[in-house]
């Protein structure tokens, strides 16, 4: 019995194995990737990067851009999601752009990532205490308050912000504005030169 079972097992070719691995990776697109991109601080560069993403059908979750310590260079922090193959394409296509100086992917264990969010919630007197408790737990701040609403400012990682939003949802969220993540590498330094 065992002998025939063994004989029936098909030999997996190297190509099939590689295909299986890549399919597993492809399914793992719940992964968000944070890219830090140094670009020339010129007119039109943001449009060029946005155009690249839209033309190639890449998904941007957020994009934040601003000047760096060198005023001729801007840094873009782009959060994308997709499998390894798409991520590789995104990075290579970005690098191709003449205005893009450097592209790195920040590793999950090596990055400091923050996002700033303003959340306007309903502020009935019944709910106000609950909101303040949540705000204190998350070390967030109340930056505005009136009879109708209360505006909370929170800074933190994506997961911290998402958690706070989840907790505030039952209270009644009226408006949310997020900046998108910005990030730096902990150990390394990304410079233009």
């Amino acid at each position: 019995m065992a002998k025939t079972a063994k004989a029936a097992v098909k030999k997996v070719t190297k190509k099939e194995e590689a295909k299986a691995v890549s399919m597993a990776e492809a399914n793992d697109n719940s992964m968000f990737h944070t890219l830090s991109v140094l670009v020339e601080n010129h007119f039109g560069v943001l449009a060029r990067v946005a155009g690249l993403f839209s033309a190639r059908g890449f998904n941007i979750d957020s994009l934040a851009v601003g000047e760096t310590e060198d005023s001729s260079v801007s840094r873009m922090t782009i959060v994308v999601h997709g499998d390894q193959r798409i991520l590789a394409q995104i990075m290579k296509q970005l690098d191709k752009l003449v205005d893009v100086i450097k592209v790195v992917k920040l590793l999950p264990e090596d990055k400091i990532e923050r996002e700033l969010v303003l959340i306007k919630v309903t502020a009935s007197s019944a709910k106000r205490a609950e909101v303040l408790q949540i705000v204190n737990t998350f070390r967030a701040k109340v930056v505005d308050i009136n009879t109708q609403s209360l505006t909370v400012e929170v800074t933190g990682t994506k997961s911290k912000v998402d958690a706070m939003l989840e907790l505030l949802r039952p209270v009644g969220i009226r408006e949310v504005v997020r900046t998108g993540s910005i990030a730096l590498s902990r150990k390394g330094e990304l410079k233009a030169a």
């Binding site: 590689a18 007119f43 039109g44 449009a47 155009g51 690249l52 191709k96 003449v98």
Partner: protein
């Protein structure tokens, strides 16, 4: 010395060695055209800006050097869009100078204003809007550098008219530094060694050669590699001429309309060596069934092309010629007797052939005769469609930069203006424009340009009275519902059309007229339009239907 922006532009074009400027003036580019007038630079006035773009493209493809087109703002620049996209898809070096409204009017919906940078962003390698006249020399120098290095491509320079009137001290920029642009040249030695190792271990290797090999000027190194190892060679449409099709190891073109034996070889090989090619869908057919048994080596100058469509086992990023030189040092002759025998069997069972028993004219026959009459010592440009595929199959290409065709974008109307550009680049040589009746009419008004500047292009118009390739697909996949593909009832008398521009026209309707017509055209000193009325309903075979694997190739009946 103080110069205007217009004078600086012309001076920079001179210094960068612009051979010809193709274009058409207008308001926003008037100051620049004024500086051009007595500059000594060669200018070609066109009838439509798209013609200027394709002429610059044809010039660049046939020489490898960037050519220049100069047009006005708004509609002038927008008429260039298709030509720019054509050049972009096939990696052709080109510098396009477009006029623009004055800087204080930009964004105001001014007369003849268009956001040309915005419109061409996805189809240029790079583009510049010149805001200060002081930046102009550096920008033009960078434009030529970016266009012609790395993976070549079109670069657009948008010139607001007030910048061209402003003055500054002109100094030719001697240094060039673009920190975001560093095209790779030499390949990683480790990867080259790995490639050599894979080659020496293979039993059924195949060289898959694309346009990058021609762009790099690597045909000698490729020949050495093929002859040293004995590996058979197949080329893409863009790679035609990189390897002589008369060579015993040539399998001719592969892909959707390639030879059966080239396609079978791809599917059966155990090592596919891709040299300057990009695994385009016209070549691969169904991706997950492409080259199922092969390890893949990919040599390419563009890192983004590596593993874009097909995962590769060994990638060497860099200039093809530089890499092949190193690779050639490491490889030796392979014993491929069994493999070559297999390929010879396929070649015998599925030769390239066409029936020529009637009294009418077959496109394939015309193209074959064009090749024979010149011993393939000619430059060929084509439009897009059946005639283009037949030209690729039947001309017999032996030298690089002799097949000038819009492969990537597939732009109808490309052939004739491209031929004009190629002829200007090679004044003593024969240039054939093999065109279709549909494609030709898209840019036929450049007949005036060819006649005026005495550009002796020989047009072989293969008139089948249909949009041939569309009709073929409608016959095969849409139950012969010829929706919008019939041209015969509205086509002009092409000979009369040519003659109205002052060009010689010759009509041929019978098989025995073909060679005499070609000989007459070649003898004539000047441009000629040969109007061949060919078989109306003929199909291009072999064919791999879209979305099928390469081994599903349909041969001729």
């Amino acid at each position: 010395m103080k110069l205007t922006g217009a004078q600086i532009t012309i001076e920079m074009l001179k210094r960068e060695g612009a051979p010809y400027i193709f274009g058409l003036p207008g308001g926003a580019i008037l100051p620049t055209f004024d500086a051009l007038y007595d500059s000594g630079l060669n200018f070609i006035l066109v009838r439509h800006e798209q013609g200027a773009g394709h002429m610059a493209d044809g010039y660049a493809r046939s020489t490898g050097k960037p050519a220049v087109c100069m047009v006005t703002s708004g509609p002038g620049a927008l008429n260039l869009v298709t030509a720019i996209a054509t050049a972009n898809m096939d990696s052709v070096p080109m510098v396009c100078i477009t006029g623009q409204v004055a800087t204080h009017l930009i964004g105001n919906d001014a007369f003849q204003e268009a956001d040309v940078i915005g419109c061409t962003r996805p189809i240029t390698k790079h583009s510049y809007l010149v805001k200060k006249v002081e930046d102009l020399p550096r920008i033009i120098k960078e434009a030529f550098y970016i266009a012609s290095t790395g993976r070549p491509g079109p670069v657009l320079v948008d010139l607001p008219v007030d910048v061209t009137r402003a003055t500054t001290d002109f100094e030719y920029p001697t240094k060039l530094s673009i920190r975001g642009y560093n095209p790779p040249m030499a390949g990683e030695p480790k990867n080259i060694e790995l490639a050599a190792d894979l080659i020496m271990k293979s039993k059924k290797p195949l060289l898959y050669v694309g346009g990058g090999t021609i762009a790099s000027g690597a045909n000698k190194e490729l020949l050495e590699l093929a002859e040293k190892t004995g590996i058979p060679v197949t080329t893409t449409l863009a790679g035609l001429g990189a390897f002589p099709e008369t060579h015993a190891q040539s399998l001719r073109m592969l892909g959707m309309h390639g030879t059966v034996y080239a396609n079978y070889s791809v599917q059966a090989c155990d090592l596919l060596i891709s040299v300057g090619a990009r695994f385009d869908d016209r070549v691969t057919g169904k991706l997950d069934k492409f080259a199922p048994n092969a390890k893949i080596i990919h040599i390419d100058i563009d890192p983004a092309s590596i593993s874009k469509n097909v995962k590769v086992d060994c990638a060497i990023v860099g200039d093809v010629r530089t890499i092949l030189k190193e690779l050639n040092k490491l490889v030796k002759h392979l014993d491929l007797k069994a493999w070559n025998q297999q390929i010879a069997d396929w070649r015998e069972k599925h030769p390239m052939r066409f029936e020529n028993n009637g009294s009418g004219i077959k496109s394939q026959h015309v193209i074959q005769e064009l090749g024979k009459a010149t011993n393939s010592n000619a430059i060929v440009t084509t439009g897009v469609g059946q005639h283009q595929m037949w030209a690729a199959q039947w001309f017999n290409f032996i030298k690089p930069r002799t097949m000038i065709t819009s492969g990537g974008l597939g732009t109808m109307g490309y052939g004739f203006p491209a031929a004009i550009g190629a002829q200007l680049a090679h004044p003593g040589e024969t240039v054939f424009c093999i065109d279709g009746d549909g494609s030709f009419q898209m840019t036929s008004f450049e007949l005036a340009t060819a006649v005026h500047y005495k550009i002796p292009v020989k047009i072989a118009l293969l008139d089948n009275a249909y949009l041939g390739m569309v009709r073929q697909w409608q016959e095969m996949f849409y139950k012969e519902r010829y929706s919008g593909s019939e041209l015969g009832s509205s086509n002009p008398d092409f000979v009369k059309l040519a003659e109205s521009f002052g060009m010689k026209g010759i009509l041929a309707t019978k098989k025995e007229d073909v060679r005499p017509t070609i000989d007459k055209a070649l003898e004539h000193d000047g441009p000629v339009l040969m109007h061949f009325k060919v078989e109306k309903q003929d199909n291009v075979f072999p064919m791999v239907p879209a979305g099928q694997a390469l081994d599903q190739v349909i041969d001729m009946a």
